[in-house]
Chain length 662, copies 2
């Protein structure tokens, strides 16, 4: 257990979380850098809690052993017999996973006998992407969509000299099984394009900070780098000079970072350069980079987030939701085997509620990764307490072909026709003392990692696991209160924001707070079409954009029919009158009134409950959460009042319960 700097919150690895391990006699057997990490952790824990590291395995009551007989790079076997708990794994990374498993289980793993259990991650790639810029972007700040301060990686246009925070972060991630990190923003600006070249020494140092925790680093690259960095006249993927430039650049990276993971690429999207400029398609583009990486075992994560962001709101035939499928489904089978297509979970953009992206069901011969967003761009920006575990769980467990078929997680985990792609998310971490701005947003980072390891896990159990680790010595009222605030918070947030799957309604640009018509007449393709008669987007095949047709059965039909479409997604798929009666039995207008009042009221209950914890949690943490919950109360009421006023002004339908509408 290495130490966390005194001024930084230890997250889910406070010293007390190690007590059950730290009081034991522990023996660690094996060699290599990750075994050394495990040994260092054990040494620190026992030093803190009175246990010992023993040289004689026979003297140990916790035995961590490298054992080549255990199958699977990242798998471990854990059991307890004859008063000895044993963790076995074929390598250091897996052994470290096993150690943290025991930490999480605590005395449960170190009490009565337990039969051997084998644990292995469902997803071979569990990745966090950082949208960090090396310099501070004038509009987006240093971390794009970051709500937790500046970058922990970069300062003053270069990799930080002091990587202590990065080492601590790597330890936190490694403890929950994250094994890949994207080091820079997918919108690659001019400075960051040179991470491949001028700043490669910094990448080496960052890789060195992550490596002891079993994490490989990736870089976001610009498709135009052969021009902007390399000085070539073009970046055409079929141009041999371009291919040679990438091959050379990749070789230099691997010479410096032999376990480099590969690239993350946003191409031909929101102004980023891409293969379209040369009349090539995304397969040409992705394969260009894949072939450069192939000799070294690297992978390209190629993002499917491609759409027209200069759409004309007057053109109701264009549907941004269709874009990824329209672009990528025809390319199925054309991607090299070290290309992973990274697909946002929904067809739009990380909304609080979207249907699962039909792309995930459409590309049987393509490696797919599902992309989630831990940073809360559209879900309260870490000022609102919104725990997204249930959202991710629903997505990962969603059965794309109905009740009997594979889930989203199954697709990401691979098949006979396409190896696994994995699960990726955008990180929510910055140089904030609590890592995530809102201290309770640490629960999202934790839950994401644990669900990436096992998408079938019960997210509420993971929430409680996180609470137990983060507040190990607190009285039960703390855990109960934090549980009460976070469990259900996703639904609460949905209740007081954009209703029934319609999405957006946020302030353009920064995406915080309500602006019902903010995107309605913009080029962004994010509309709700509200008028005095109704609201929603007709995406049916019968009368709308035909988006429902991108789904396999049964969803193509479930979503098509307004009578079977789930209420939660009604306005995503249908334009209905304000008076339309939901399955819940109330009209759309009344639903808005009811949910917004209820959601806003719950934020007050939460703030009051937290207030009662004063003195039971550290004062600085209490103060920070108090301040955030107050902002959530304010924001939720602002959302409530804007939405209710908007709906009333349009529909003329009064609230059946007669509450105040402004």
């Amino acid at each position: 257990m290495t130490s966390t700097p005194a001024d930084v919150h230890p997250a889910w690895l406070p010293s007390a979380a190690w007590r059950a391990v730290g009081v034991r006699r522990v023996h660690v057997r094996g060699d290599g850098p990750l075994v050394a990490t495990a040994r260092d952790e054990v040494r620190a824990a026992t030093a803190a809690h009175g246990g010992t590291v023993v040289d004689d395995p026979a003297a140990a009551d916790l035995l961590l052993t490298v054992d080549p007989a255990v199958e699977g790079d990242e798998a471990f076997v854990v059991g307890r017999r004859d008063r000895v708990t044993s963790v076995r794994a074929a390598g250091g990374a897996a052994l470290l996973h096993g150690l943290h498993h025991v930490v999480r289980q605590g005395d449960d793993a170190l009490g009565s006998d337990r039969a051997d259990e084998r644990h292995a991650p469902v997803q071979p790639v569990r990745m966090l992407d950082h949208w960090d810029n090396m310099t501070v972007h004038p509009v987006m700040g240093q971390v794009e969509r970051g709500y937790a301060g500046g970058s922990i990686f970069y300062a003053d246009g270069r990799v930080r000299d002091d990587l202590t925070r990065v080492e601590q972060y790597a330890r936190l991630l490694g403890s929950v099984g994250i094994n890949a990190v994207g080091l820079n923003n997918v919108n690659v600006h001019v400075t960051e394009a040179r991470l491949l070249t001028d700043h490669l020494d910094g990448v080496v140092r960052l890789a060195g900070a992550f490596r002891p925790h079993g994490i490989r680093v990736y870089l976001s690259v610009s498709f135009a780098a052969p021009m902007t960095v390399g000085g070539l006249p073009a970046s055409d993927p079929l141009d041999p000079d371009v291919q040679a430039w990438w091959a050379d650049a990749v070789a230099r990276v691997y010479a410096a970072v032999p376990d480099f993971g590969g690239f993350v690429v946003k191409a031909d999207s929101e102004g980023q350069p891409g293969p379209f400029a040369y009349g090539r398609d995304h397969a040409d583009g992705a394969n260009l980079l894949a072939r450069a990486l192939k000799p070294f075992g690297g992978t390209v994560f190629w993002r499917a987030f491609v759409y027209d962001h200069h759409q004309d709101w007057r053109d109701r035939s264009t549907d941004r939701a269709r874009a990824a499928h329209d672009h990528f489904a025809p390319l199925d089978g054309r991607f090299d085997d070290n290309v992973v297509l990274q697909v946002k979970y929904g067809p739009m953009d990380f909304q609080t509620r979207e249907p699962v992206s039909p792309v995930i069901a459409a590309m049987a011969r393509t490696r797919l990764a599902v992309e989630l967003q831990v940073t809360q761009e559209y879900t309260g920006q870490q000022r609102h307490a919104v725990w997204l575990g249930p959202q991710w769980s629903e997505i990962l467990r969603f059965r794309l072909w109905g009740d009997t078929g594979p889930t989203v997680a199954d697709v990401a985990a691979g098949s006979a026709d396409a190896p696994a792609g994995g699960v990726v998310a955008v990180s929510n971490v910055g140089d904030d003392e609590f890592w995530t701005g809102h201290p309770l947003a640490q629960a999202n980072l934790y839950t994401f990692a644990r669900l990436a390891w096992d998408p079938s896990a019960d997210p509420v159990a993971l929430l409680d696991e996180w609470i137990g680790l983060t507040f190990p010595d607190a009285p039960p009222s703390v855990g109960d209160t934090v549980h009460g605030i976070l469990d259900g918070s996703w639904r609460t947030y949905e209740d007081y924001t954009a209703p029934l799957g319609v999405g957006f309604m946020v302030r353009p640009g920064h995406h915080y707070g309500p602006d019902v018509d903010g995107y309605e007449y913009t080029p962004w393709g994010t509309y709700h079409f509200a008028d005095r008669d109704g609201i929603g987007v007709d995406r049916t095949r019968a009368t709308g954009t035909g988006f429902t047709g991108q789904y396999p059965a049964p969803w193509r039909d479930v979503y098509e029919d307004v009578t079977t479409c789930p209420d939660d997604l009604l306005l995503f798929f249908h334009h209905v009158p304000w008076s339309h009666e939901l399955h819940s039995g109330v009209s759309v207008a009344q639903h808005v009134y009811d949910t917004h009042w209820a959601g806003a009221a719950r934020t007050e209950v939460n703030a009051a409950a937290w207030e009662r914890l004063a003195g039971q949690v550290p004062a600085d943490l209490h103060a920070r959460v108090t301040e955030r919950l107050a902002e959530q109360v304010r924001g939720a009421h602002e959302w409530r009042d804007q939405l209710c006023t908007y709906v009333y002004r349009h529909s003329g339908i009064p609230d059946a319960r007669g509450r105040r509408i402004y």
Copy 2:
């Protein structure tokens, strides 16, 4: 006539505009720097056009003479007798005015005999404020609300080394009688606060560039400067240390710039510091600075633009339109005699259409300046051709007490109870090669200056005067086309933007392009309250915010009554049904449809007309205007479609003419 750099457009002083003077034999009699300027101009003009500067006044056919017998600092007498045109004035500045008068009149002043005419400015202060920052503000750019490139004054955080552009600008302004310039943004940031101190040498150089053209310089200062620059613990206007700090700072400025004009101050407004922090009022604040300036003859222009920019949209009792009157009217009589209260022409913020501010009628014992906006913040940002001469003329000629009383210009020109304040506007100039981004926006700068000199002038005659000077050698089709594009362009812009005086409906922040609900739920106090039934702000005494009561009769009653309120201002004063019939005979909804289609159509006519001038004006100018007119066409159609859709979605009233609504 000094030269304009070859790459900068000469605006209304091209060499050819000097031909009538330049072919004459001219004698300039008198001494001093401004007489020297006049003499230099004549020398250059005669050198270019074949005339001569003659030493013998008897040999001259144009005689410019300093004559102490002419009354008035800035007045001149001009006449022609015995084939000699004579300009007489008591000083150099006035003599320069007279010379430019002759230039504008051209051969008319130099042909047949004309009786002596005395010309003197109606407004003693004719000022342009620059909202220039020394450094580039991350959001606002270098010139706040500037649409013509960077600052001509500053680069890299200091006054430019090369002030050639400033000298040219000073010459342009001096030629139309501007006699005061504010050198920096009224939102005073940290660097600019030090213009008073560390950067005073730069101010000296800028003053030196303006002085030969009869223009005094002013600085915008921060009310908090005693703290931020002076290191004092407070900036309380009643604190003797604060008073001493200002006295000392002012003395140092005057030691360096003996003809320094004074200060422009935005206090307690939109986040700027002010006297409220100390429980003092605006009279205390303004008088503090006035007393420091008094010994040196300086003046404080204290802006009345004070309102609550953290308003709650839910609170319909607060009305931003009332704010300036509420704040300042009670202070009438409390301002020192070297304080000028600088009042925006309307109660809101430089909208395309607002009623005249009631503050102008409410402070008989206070010196008032009227503030206009030449930079087109809300009127197309110099991408749209919008000539504002008629707007300013309407405002300046507006009779505040009805048909027989004084006009706005009369109030600004002073009375027995309050000396003149003058006319002020925000400049539209930057380091753009055409000065103003849109070359035709030069007409606004020209017209403002000429109306400040004589508010009773016919603006259309000033437009044609500007056309004649700017395009002196062009075929008549050029003048006709430019006249056709600009005359009526204010109404055209109004037609396709926010209707009937309701204002705003622009994109928040940058204020370009439509966003009907963009400000509807914000803290800015700029609402239209549209719903399915109607639109507009009830500002009546009977049922609304009572704003109409801030006007004297007859306007308090004209505006109060929906049947007498002018259509142009209907939605500023009243909330009416979409079906409300205007005096024009159509409903509000139909009015929106009709005006928006008509306005957008006129932009197409203008663009087509300009296209036909290819080859008749310089190619670079033609290209620039072509590009801008194309953007205006695009923008006008975007405005049209958003407004029509918005109104239809709310009202459900179809267009009687069946045009396409999206």
